[in-house]
């Protein structure tokens, strides 16, 4: 047993030496300590629209919270962007309900959004209010109660390469 442990240590040390050597000469070298963005300290995810009213509007989600909702599989994500943007790439299994052309799509989408469903709306991050306006509309006009807004939206989700349908933006 001791012999096995010793051999494992030696193998790991040799592998570490080879890794160091290879990274010195490899043209695709990477720094040993990577600077990968963290889900919880993303600046996009704390931005909220200037027209957001914390007292009357639905709660907002940071990126890490939106990802928790996503992995729980008990929330429906609603993409408030235009169909062309949605088709290019969207949060995996999100439903497209464009705010700007809401009336054209609502009868088709309504059966997919039960009144008791827990919804997360999003759009194009700091460039849009559609997620907020859609959430207001669904609450005030259609009686939805469980809605949260993910203001980081598609740009934050895309930046962290979280699960999508379609393609990531470069």
């Amino acid at each position: 047993m001791n012999k096995t442990i010793l051999q494992i240590v030696v193998i790991c040390l040799v592998a570490a030496l080879l890794a160091v050597g290879n990274n010195l000469v490899n043209s695709n070298e990477v720094p040993w300590i990577g600077n990968w963005p963290s889900l919880s300290d993303n600046s996009d995810s704390v931005w909220v629209s200037p027209s957001y009213d914390a007292k009357s509007d639905p709660p907002t989600l940071r990126l890490s919270e939106a990802f928790d909702r996503f992995t729980s599989k008990t929330y429906l994500f609603v993409d408030a962007r235009e169909p062309e943007e949605y088709q290019a790439g969207h949060i995996k299994e999100a439903i497209n309900l464009p705010f700007d052309t809401f009336d054209d799509h609502w009868t088709q989408i309504e059966p997919l959004l039960p009144k008791e469903a827990k919804l997360v709306t999003y759009c194009s991050g700091t460039e849009c209010d559609a997620s907020l306006l859609l959430a207001r509309l669904l609450i005030r006009k259609f009686g939805y109660k469980n809605i949260e807004i993910f203001f980081g939206g598609w740009p934050a989700w895309n930046k962290h390469k979280l699960p999508i349908d379609g393609k990531y933006d470069e």
């Binding site: 790991c12 592998a15 080879l18 890794a19 990477v30 990802f67």
Partner: protein, 152 residues
């Protein structure tokens, strides 16, 4: 059945197969640690600070242990390591499956965009793990430097 499963020729074939799989799997990762690091990041399991260390170190563990399995030198120790690596893969893939993340596996290539069903990858890794268990359970194998060393 037990005697069949730990037959020295069968164990040799399993040793060879697992060794070749890991050597092959490591080649692309060694030449493209940058892309392999991005694939690891996409799993969203490891803290950002250790992703590159993992991406640089793991392929060399794979290739070294794979090579040791092929030549049969310290092959039980190499199998213990590769078994541990396979368990880590199974856990990572299971988390991805639970989260509904359709990730690039990063198993054999860092450039392929092909995404197989995660459950298939878990099954494949489980078969590899059973292979590792067979090697560890067996008393003998053939065409191994370990055996030659003992005879000298």
């Amino acid at each position: 059945m037990n005697r069949f499963l730990t037959n020295k020729y069968l164990v040799f074939l399993v040793r060879l197969a697992i060794g070749i799989v890991f050597v092959y799997a490591a080649l692309s990762k060694i030449t493209h640690p940058d892309q392999f690091a991005r694939i690891i990041y996409n799993y969203h399991i490891l803290p950002g600070g250790v992703i590159n260390v993992f991406a640089l170190f793991l392929p060399w563990i794979e290739i070294l242990c794979g090579f040791l399995l092929i030549i049969g030198f310290w092959h039980k120790s190499a199998t213990v390591i590769l078994g541990g690596v396979t368990v880590v893969f199974i856990i990572a893939l299971s988390v991805a499956l639970f989260r509904g993340v359709n990730i690039e596996c990063g198993c054999f290539s860092t450039t392929s965009k092909a995404k197989g069903p995660v459950i298939d990858l878990i099954v494949r890794d489980t078969v590899m793990l059973v292979g590792c268990a067979l090697i560890l359970a067996a008393d003998k194998t053939v065409l191994a430097l370990d055996g030659l060393r003992r005879r000298l």
